[in-house]
Amino acid sequence: MNPRPYNFAYLDEQTKRMIRRAILKAIAIPGYQVPFASREMPMPYGWGTGGVQVTAAIIGPDDVLKVIDQGADDTTNAVSIRAFFAKTANVATTTDTTQATIIQTRHRVPETPLSAEQILVYQVPIPEPLRFLEPRETETRTMHALAEYGVMHVKLYEDIARHGHIATTYAYPARVADRYIMDPSPIPKFDNPKLDDCPALQLFGAGREKRIYAIPPHTRVVSLDFEDHPFERTKFDAACAFCGATDSFLDEVVVDDKGGRMFVCSDTDYCEKRRAAKAKDAAE
C-alpha cells in the first residue's frame, strides 16, 4: 500500500471551508455556539480536536504557532499538537507569546497581553454552560434562543447559600456582548477578565461536541455574579518562586514528601521572560 500525502494542515480544503464558514457565523453572533461537522482527527476526542480543527482551518504557511497546555509549552499534549502542525503544515512554531500569530491553548490564557495581530484558539471539552443544570440539548437550545438564563443564577445562588461563596472556580460562565452566556472553557476564573475587550480574536473549538463559538476583538465579556457578591479574581498568598511575579496564576508544586510546597508561574514563557529580564537587570 502506498502512503498518501496529506493536505496542508491535514484537513482537505472543503473541510477547512466548512469550518471557516462556522467561524464566520460564530464571529457574527458573539458567544453563540455554532454547530459544525467535526471530523475525526488523528488525536482522540477530548484531547483538543476542536482546537486543532479551528487552527487547521485558519493557519497559513506564514503563521507562527504557539501551543500551550496548562500555560506551559512543554506539557505532553502541547508538545504533541505542536509536532502535529509542524509535520502537517511545516509552519514555524514558537514558545514566545509575543512572536506567535496563532496561539492554541488548553485551560489558560497567556499572561502576556495579546495584540490585534493574534488569534487565540481555545480547546473546549463541554461548550454548553447550561449542560450540568439541563442535560437535554433540545432544552438548552431553547433556553439560549429565548435568553432564559435564570437557572444559571439559581446555581450561583445555591453556592452562596451553601458555601457563602460562588463555588465555580474554573469554566466560569460569562455573558458575551450582553446576549449569550458562554462557557469560556476550563480556564481558571483568574483568567476571565482577560476575555473582556481583548484586542485579539478569540475562537473556541469543541470537537467532540461539534460546536464553534467566538469572541470578536474588543467585545464586552462579563462574568456572572450578584451585585452583592461580585466576581472576584483568585488571589494567591505567594509570589512565583522563580521570577517573583505576584500577578500571574501560580502552579503549586509538591517538592518533597513532607508536604513541602512551592508556587511557580503556570505561564512558562511569561516566567522565563521575567527571569531573563531580572538577570539582565542584575548584570547591569
Binding site: 434562543a145 438564563y149 435564570g150 437557572v151 439559581v154 445562588y157 445555591e158 452562596i160 447559600a161 452583592d228
Partner: protein, 257 residues
C-alpha cells in the same frame, strides 16, 4: 367596563375517537376564581392544560388581556412570549408538587428563580423576598436553605405556591392543589389559598373533583362530564341548587360531614 381577563371560545380537543373537550366557552374576570369540577375522565385537566397553553387545541381560541391592555389570542404568542407570560403574569400549581419545583434546589433558590429569571441580581434582596414568602406560606424561615426533597407533602405544596406567586401574577392555574394531602393539611392549605387569592386579587382557575375545595375557593364553577360543560354559575348557587341531574348526583354523593 374592562374586557374580561381571559376569554375562552369554542375549545375542542380529541384523542383519536375520544372527545376530551367539546365546544368549551367561558370568561374570567380579574380577581375571579373559577372552579372546574368533574370526576376522572371528565376532561377538566385537559381543559386546564389547553387554556394554559400546555396543550394545543384542535379548534377554538383562548384570548388573554395582557398587562398593557391588549387582548391577545394565545395562539398568536411566540414561544418566547408564552414562556415570559408563564414566568411573570401566570402561575401553575401542579397536583404533584415535584413537577412544579426543582427538588434538589433549596427553597430559597426555588422561590428566587423567577426573580432571577426576570433580572434579579442582588443575592440579599432575593433571599429576603424568599424569606418573606416562606413566612406568608407559613414555612419556618430556617428551612430556606433546605431542598423540597426534605419537605413534607403539604410543605412542598406551599413552597410551590410561593414559587408561583413571588412575581405577583394575575392569573393562577391550579390542578387539584390539595390532592393527595391529609385532610387537616388540606384544610390549612385551602385557608392559605383563600387568603392569598383575596389579598393579591388573583384570578384563578382551579380544577378539582372535591366540591368542598370548589365551595371554599371559587366564586363561579363549571361542571364537566365527558368533555362537556353541563352546568355553570355562581358556586353557591350550583352547589345549593343544582339544576342538571348529574350535578345533583355529584352534590348528593358528597358524604355528610
Amino acid at each position: 367596563m374592562m374586557a374580561p381577563l381571559l376569554s375562552v371560545r369554542g375549545l375542542n380537543k380529541r384523542y383519536g375517537s375520544i372527545v376530551a373537550c367539546r365546544d368549551i366557552a367561558f370568561e374570567l374576570e380579574e380577581g375571579e376564581a373559577l372552579a372546574i369540577v368533574g370526576e376522572s375522565g371528565s376532561g377538566k385537566t385537559t381543559l386546564l392544560n389547553l387554556v394554559a397553553g400546555a396543550l394545543a387545541a384542535d379548534s377554538g381560541e383562548v384570548v388573554y388581556r395582557m398587562r398593557d391592555g391588549a387582548a391577545r389570542p394565545l395562539s398568536s404568542l411566540s414561544e418566547a412570549e408564552r414562556r415570559a407570560l408563564m414566568r411573570t403574569d401566570w402561575g401553575f400549581v401542579h397536583q404533584d408538587a415535584s413537577r412544579g419545583l426543582r427538588m434538589n434546589v433549596s427553597a430559597g433558590g426555588n422561590i428566587g428563580e423567577r426573580l432571577m429569571a426576570i433580572g434579579g441580581r442582588h443575592y440579599g434582596r432575593i433571599r429576603a423576598a424568599a424569606l418573606d414568602w416562606l413566612a406568608r406560606v407559613e414555612i419556618a424561615a430556617e428551612r430556606v436553605d433546605d431542598p423540597p426533597s426534605t419537605y413534607s407533602g403539604g410543605m412542598r405544596q406551599r413552597l410551590q405556591i410561593a414559587r408561583n406567586l413571588v412575581t405577583g401574577p394575575r392569573l393562577v392555574f391550579m390542578d387539584e392543589p390539595t390532592g393527595g394531602l391529609d385532610v387537616s393539611v388540606q384544610a390549612r392549605l385551602l385557608d392559605l389559598l383563600r387568603g392569598l387569592i383575596a389579598d393579591m386579587g388573583l384570578a384563578a382557575i382551579i380544577v378539582t373533583h372535591d366540591l368542598a375545595v370548589a365551595r371554599l375557593l371559587s366564586h363561579r364553577m363549571l361542571v364537566m362530564k365527558q368533555g362537556e360543560v353541563i352546568e355553570s354559575g355562581l358556586t353557591d348557587r350550583v352547589l345549593d341548587d343544582p339544576q342538571a341531574p348529574y350535578t345533583q348526583l355529584l352534590v348528593s354523593s358528597v358524604l355528610a360531614a
